[in-house]
């Protein structure tokens, strides 16, 4: 019990004092996950619209596969990226292994199925009558897709937030391909993992609380946006 209490006080202490190392790690976490979420959204929103608005053979099966990949283990994605980008791998020449760049790539791969699947189901929530109305009013195919995306904007936004949440909270992939290098690829989750194994439970807990705090801020911002 005392450990939890100490963890809490330490967390508050670190937050109030704006401890430089904690701030640096937190900032890096936000940057890497923010970038991966943004890039994944840029791919998934148009791709999701495309899949949603077209009828083709195997569409149902494709969506099933996408939904199955929601629960792909982070270490499996880590392994996949490891094989691709490590020195000996086919893309090893790029020399981006153990850098934030490869961590962004790993997180993008991790959250793409989630973003894609949730985008498709968000768009399915827009009624066929809305699509017909837009078509009748003279919208082209592209204009209709854009309108449907706007109609589903809150659900789509929720999908993006879910993707961000999964990215910022994962540890397996970041550890495997980032290497938890101090000052370079150390992020909140990998730091927690390291500090715990070192027995520094207070610092680990403080970082955990910061992570939850970030999630809370994002959720409040989202709710505000949805109520507008």
């Amino acid at each position: 019990m005392t450990e939890i209490w100490h963890g809490l006080t330490k967390a508050i202490e670190l937050l109030i004092s704006l401890d430089p190392e904690v701030m640096e790690i937190t900032g890096r976490s936000l940057r890497i996950s923010g970038t991966s979420c943004l890039l994944a959204s840029l791919i998934c929103l148009p791709l999701g619209s495309l899949i949603h608005s077209h009828h083709f053979r195997g569409k149902r099966a494709l969506i099933n596969i996408i939904q199955t990949l929601f629960s792909v283990p982070t270490v499996v994605v880590g392994l996949f990226v490891f094989v691709l980008f490590s020195r000996a791998g086919p893309l090893g020449e790029l020399g981006i292994f153990f850098t934030p760049t490869v961590m962004v790539i790993g997180q993008m791969i991790l959250i793409t199925p989630l973003l894609l699947g949730l985008t498709i189901s968000a768009l399915s929530g827009v009624s066929k009558e809305i699509v017909d109305t837009a078509t009748s009013l003279g919208a082209s195919g592209f204009q209709t897709v854009w309108l449907v995306l706007r109609e589903a904007r809150y659900a789509v936004l929720a999908a993006v937030i879910m993707g961000f949440g999964r990215a910022i909270s994962e540890v397996g992939c970041a550890l495997m391909v980032g290497g938890n290098i101090k000052g370079a690829t150390r992020i909140i989750t990998t730091a927690i993992s390291l500090e715990s194994s070192k027995g520094e439970l207070e610092l680990a807990m403080a970082l955990g609380i910061i992570l939850l705090f970030l999630a809370l801020i994002i959720n409040i911002a989202l709710n505000r946006l949805q109520q507008r």
């Binding site: 009624s127 009558e129 809305i130 017909d132 109305t133 837009a134 078509t135 009748s136 009013l137 003279g138 919208a139 082209s140 204009q143 309108l147 706007r150 109609e151």
Partner: protein, 367 residues
């Protein structure tokens, strides 16, 4: 846009089915520029499907659509170009989850209209439909009547050559209905907009349309002006649908220069008709054309029958009186005269109607 042909929209041999169900069968229809055409028919007759096909939302199973003389291809960019010359107000209109202003501006923006011009047009049309104070409201928060007006504004702001309306006043209260009807006829007159309107409300068709088409079971059974349709339905189905409550079987037993005598189970009824003696027919009489009185008054009406009241039902300001005069007749009288005549079951009355009030149609031509 000058064109020599008055026809703007033409439908040729149109058939369509959803799975096994044939919704439209061999339909031919042409609509002139500036004409207001009402499609009337019961729910499920295929009115909505026909409008959707004309709006190029659906590709018909068979047949062709011509717009302004050009045959419309079954796919491709040309469909969008033609569709942009029309507007379609769907039954139960859906508004976008945007402000009222953005809802109305959508169509103009999609056509690449400039910002200032769009604002000017949208403001003008919102004022016309009486929603000028609602510009920034989210359209999802509006009432049913207001949503209908947004839908109307959204369609009219595009200044379409053809306006398609699917049950424009279904589910609206009488005041909202009157408002919408007023707007529709104003636009038809001011802008000479061609309109095709589906309705199950016959009086609406009568009020607003130049020409009416009766759609029953996917077939266009009869087209003509309101008088043609309501006074002279072509067959039993149409007669039923347009509220001919009295449809009586009989045989023509004499015809004297256009005044036919019809034998109805031993009773002779006189009607204006050219059918020859021996023809099996239906005699149709609109219930409001029958006068009830207590004594056999002298009048110019050729038909007068002694009858017994069998049933009286009140319909708002009217009374629907069923009588038996050897055959069953239904008459509509005002509630006041029903009270004055003390109409109740078993009361003896005289039913009187003119020979011109009887429409004779051939038996067995309903397909």
């Amino acid at each position: 846009m000058k064109s020599f042909s008055p026809t703007l929209v033409e439908v040729v041999d149109l058939s369509h089915s959803y799975g096994e169900r044939e919704v439209l069968q061999g339909l031919n229809l042409s609509i002139d520029r500036g004409e207001v055409f009402a499609l009337i028919g019961p729910t499920g007759a295929g009115k909505t499907t026909l409008l959707r096909i004309i709006d190029l939302l659906e590709v018909p199973g068979a047949g062709e659509i011509y717009f302004d003389g050009k045959c419309i291809p079954r796919s491709g960019k040309q469909r969008l170009e033609i569709r942009r010359r029309m507007s379609f107000i769907h039954q139960k209109p859906q508004v976008f989850n945007l402000s009222v202003y953005d809802n109305v501006a959508c169509g103009l923006r999609w056509r690449g209209e400039g910002k200032d011009k769009t604002a000017e047009k949208v403001d003008h049309i919102l004022e016309m439909v009486g929603l000028e104070g609602y510009k920034n409201r989210n359209a999802r928060t509006l009432s049913g009547g207001e949503v209908q007006r947004v839908a109307l504004a959204r369609a009219l702001v595009l200044e379409p050559e053809v306006l398609l309306l699917d049950e424009p006043t279904a589910n609206l209260d009488p005041v909202s209905t009157a408002k919408i009807e007023q707007l529709i006829s104003y636009v038809a007159r001011q802008h000479n907009t061609t309109m095709i309107m589906a309705t199950h409300d016959m009086s609406q068709g009568q009020k607003l349309a130049d020409r009416i088409g009766v759609l029953l079971d996917g077939r266009l059974v009869q087209t003509g002006n309101a008088t043609d349709i309501f006074r002279s339905p072509q067959n039993e189905e149409v007669a039923h649908f347009v509220g001919m409550e009295n449809i009586i079987e009989g045989v023509i037993i004499a015809n004297n220069e256009g005044i036919a005598t019809v034998n109805i189970g031993g009773n002779a009824l006189q009607a204006v008709s050219n059918y020859p003696v021996g023809k099996e027919v239906y005699a149709c009489i609109r219930p409001e054309d029958i006068t009830l009185s207590l004594s056999s008054t002298q009048s110019s009406a050729r038909n007068s029958f002694q009858a017994k009241v069998t049933r009286v039902t009140t319909l708002g300001p009217l009374s629907r009186v069923e009588i038996n005069c050897g055959f069953r007749l239904i008459a509509l009288v005002t509630k006041i005269s029903a009270e004055e005549l003390n109409l109740q079951v078993d009361r003896e009355v005289y039913a009187t109607f003119k020979a011109t009030g009887v429409h004779i149609m051939e038996k067995g031509i309903s397909q």
